[in-house]
């Protein structure tokens, strides 16, 4: 067993806050448990609720190195785990004309010609590491097989080199936007955290933290409007990232309170679709302003 990263759940909250991340009880508790139980943490939730940011803050709070594997459709072993540097190998082979083939062969399949990718990098790192496997749902199912293998015993076999075992288990955080269901097997290996939009209080604190100088009452109203918008069943609900953008915009506009005019003129920052825009305007009773105002 390696030294745990945190002494208590409260300590998680404190140290993440020190790294600029305000954690809910759910986040702090699962982070604490994932570390103590030595299990990967799967964080699932809509875009922009702070999944990626959590990994970043966690690394910074614990003085760990952040190793990130960004998933995408078609990602494979050679991008996720390791690859041989073929160009360099060829050069070496051409340069070694009069060497014994066996000797050359042994040489070109050594450390020097290996290109480690994030999974291998994280496993070999002797220093504390946070391994972020971001947007896992974008990868194909085959990729999950690889993850299962690697996250099972934290070792990797490179046929030419032998088995590499983690010197020190990284803290593993997987994220998913839930565009597809991950396999049961992978989920079973992980602790599961559904991260949703924060409570109004937490969101206000996050916005105030990220946009210093924002008036407190204005922050309250902003969070309230954003909360109302999220209830509307929109095509794209505004996330924390949008709340922060909006706060920045309001600060730049020099607005000191949120009235219909201000909301109307800056709604574009938080809503990306025309239909959502119309819907919100009607529900928030901006519509009577909408007609004369629009050219």
């Amino acid at each position: 067993m390696q030294e745990p990263l945190f002494g208590s759940v409260d300590e998680v909250v404190e140290r993440l806050a020190g790294a600029g991340y305000l954690a809910s009880t759910a986040v702090a508790t699962t982070v604490f448990l994932a570390d103590r139980l030595g299990k990967p943490l799967l964080v699932e939730g809509p875009a922009g609720v702070g999944k990626t940011e959590l990994a970043r803050a966690l690394a910074s709070a614990t003085g760990s190195e952040l190793v990130r594997l960004q998933c995408y459709e078609g990602i494979d072993e050679s991008r996720a785990l390791y690859e041989w540097n073929h160009a360099k190998q060829l050069l070496r082979i051409t340069a070694a004309r009069d060497e014994q083939w066996q000797e050359t062969r042994d040489h070109v399949f050594s450390e020097e010609f290996l290109l480690p990718r994030p999974l291998l990098t994280a496993i070999r790192n002797p220093d504390p590491t946070v391994l972020l496997i971001d947007e896992t749902d974008k990868s194909d199912v085959e990729m999950e097989g690889l993850l299962l293998e690697v996250l099972g015993d934290f070792q990797v076999t490179v046929p030419e080199l032998g088995t590499i075992t983690a010197a020190r288990r990284p803290f593993v955080l997987l994220t998913s936007n839930a565009t597809r269901e991950l396999s049961e097997a992978l989920k079973r290996r992980c602790l599961f955290l559904h991260l949703d939009f924060p409570t109004p209080e937490l969101e206000r604190d996050i916005v105030t933290l990220q946009v210093p100088g924002l008036d407190a009452t204005l922050a309250d109203s902003l969070v309230c409007v954003v909360g109302a918008l999220r209830e509307l069943d929109l095509r794209k609900a505004p996330s924390i990232a949008e709340s922060i953008d909006w706060a920045r915009t309001l600060l730049a506009l020099g607005a000191d309170r949120l009235d219909e005019q201000v909301v109307q003129s800056s709604l574009g920052v938080i809503l990306k679709y025309q239909a959502d825009h119309r819907r919100a305007a009607a529900e928030l009773r901006l519509d009577r302003l909408l007609d004369p105002a629009s050219p």
Binding site: T25, T29, L33, E260
Partner: protein, 472 residues
């Protein structure tokens, strides 16, 4: 709550989750126990999150989890100590509730929910034998089956919805300078606090009844099932709202599954004849396998649905879902019927921005009946074939949605046979439980002889069917 009593409690808790359709395996149970071991029991919120992270595997399960957690790991036993004096009658309680709702005073709202249940929720002889004594005794309990604490009765007395205007007035007095935006926000806030209060009352009534009668029975009766398991034909309008919210995320998930199936279907298939022909060049040894050509374009979908009575909700949900999946098809055309069929493709695509009124708009804007609102399958299938037979072709898949209850009229099997002959596939999705097919006026079994019919009672079954049946 002591640590020694915990393993048993945890096992019961996990059992109750399983009964509500949350599959918790032995591995998860071990993790849960390990989590409790590491964290201790001192902090209930942490305990809740710890258990959630070990036993849950998807987000839709959280509502059920919370309700069951509250039963098995209650805040308190017996009547909850309330903040301040409990109100003496219903008028006082409602006055206090108006103030608490206007301020959003959580602690006070919790206390009022508890005193409400205490004062108005009792039925039978609940609470007469000294409340709080039942503890952990499981199913035995002291109360008879006919006594308990009722949320329904409490809410009927307190009527929190009827307080909206008063709450808004109180909020207005507190913030007189609010413009129309402020008022719109205040109204939303008030409504969601009232809904929150209702939920508190329900949780409190469940908790107290559970003390009386044992947790197992209450967990399986009083905890609402997760959204994807709610049966279409008995869903309340709140449940339909919750279902509608799943349309977008669900469609993204299904789209990914459909497209990965499509890719696979294209990837692996070897065209034997072309491979052999090619092998002539290599002395008959098939060196280079020839892969089958991609099928051109995407399939067409026709949805034909019964919009009458209790199956309308099912139809509406499925229409919204297929609409959200429209990228997966080269064309989707939708038709609705009650006593007569009419095309509703335009209404469905317009319904994207305002999904909640779709069924109502179909009934008012399409010609789906000659008279009355009872379904006439024979006439409906007949008028579809008559008016739109040409939308069916060798690339069309047809989904028929309905319970096949003909009101004892002619089922017009011939019309369905025509549809099946012309289309590439026809699938019938029936929201009724399979054991009722063919009973009473149901012609389901007779239709099922002509086209494959599948039971489709909830979102889980529907998503499975969509990914398995729809061609790619």
């Amino acid at each position: 709550m002591t640590t020694e009593a915990l393993p048993g409690r945890l096992v019961d808790f996990v059992g109750a989750l399983r009964e509500r359709g949350i599959p918790v395996g032995p591995g998860e149970t071990v993790d849960a126990a390990a989590a409790v071991d590491v964290l201790g029991l001192a902090d209930r919120d942490q305990l809740r999150e710890a258990l959630a992270s070990t036993v849950l595997r998807r987000s839709g399960q959280r509502g059920v989890f919370d309700a069951v957690f509250d039963l098995y790991f209650p805040v308190a036993v017996g009547s909850v100590e309330s903040a301040g004096e409990p109100p003496s009658d219903v008028f006082e309680l409602r006055d206090a509730l108006v103030a608490a709702l206007a301020e959003g005073d959580e602690a006070r709202l919790r206390a009022l929910a508890a005193s409400g249940v205490e004062a108005f929720g009792r039925y039978g002889n609940a609470g007469n034998g000294g409340s709080g004594g039942a503890g952990d005794t499981g199913a035995s309990g002291s109360g008879s089956r006919l006594s308990g604490w009722s949320a329904y009765q409490t809410l009927g007395e307190v009527r929190p919805e009827a307080l909206l205007a008063r709450v808004l007035a109180a909020m207005r007095t507190a913030r007189p300078e609010d413009g129309p935006l402020g008022e719109a926000l205040a109204e939303r806030q008030a409504r969601s606090r009232i809904a929150g209060f209702r939920e508190r009352v329900q949780a409190e009534a469940r908790r107290r009844t559970a003390e009386l009668r044992g947790r197992e029975r209450i967990a399986s009766h009083a905890v609402a099932p997760q959204t994807e398991l709610v049966t279409f034909t008995s869903a309340t309008s709140e449940q339909f709202t919750a279902m509608r919210r799943t349309v977008q995320p669900l469609s993204r998930k299904l789209a990914t599954r459909l497209s990965s199936r499509r890719k696979k279907a294209r990837r692996g298939q070897i065209d034997l004849r072309r491979t052999l022909r090619r092998s002539l060049g290599t002395g008959g040894v098939p060196m280079r396998p020839a892969l089958r050509n991609r099928r051109p374009g995407r399939p067409e979908l026709v949805v034909l649905c019964d919009m009458s009575g209790s199956v309308a909700g099912f139809a509406q949900f499925t229409l919204l879902l297929t609409q959200a999946l429209s990228d997966q098809f080269s064309k989707i055309r939708s038709f609705a019927f009650v006593g007569l069929t009419d095309e509703i493709t335009h209404l469905v695509s317009a319904g994207r921005d305002e999904p909640e009124g779709l069924a109502a708009r179909i009934l008012s804007q399409a010609r789906v009946t000659r008279w009355g609102m009872s379904s006439d399958y024979g006439e409906s299938l007949g008028s579809f074939v008559e008016g739109w037979e040409d939308v069916l072709g060798p690339r069309t898949s047809v989904l028929v949605l309905g319970d096949g209850r003909t009101n004892f009229g002619d089922p017009n099997l011939e019309a369905l046979r025509r549809i099946a002959d012309r289309a590439r596939h026809v699938y019938w999705l029936n929201p009724e439980a399979e054991r009722f097919w063919g009973t009473g006026d149901s012609a389901a079994l007779r239709y099922a002889e002509l086209v494959p019919m599948h039971e489709c009672r909830n979102i889980r079954q529907l998503s499975q069917l969509v990914t398995e049946l729809l061609p790619t």
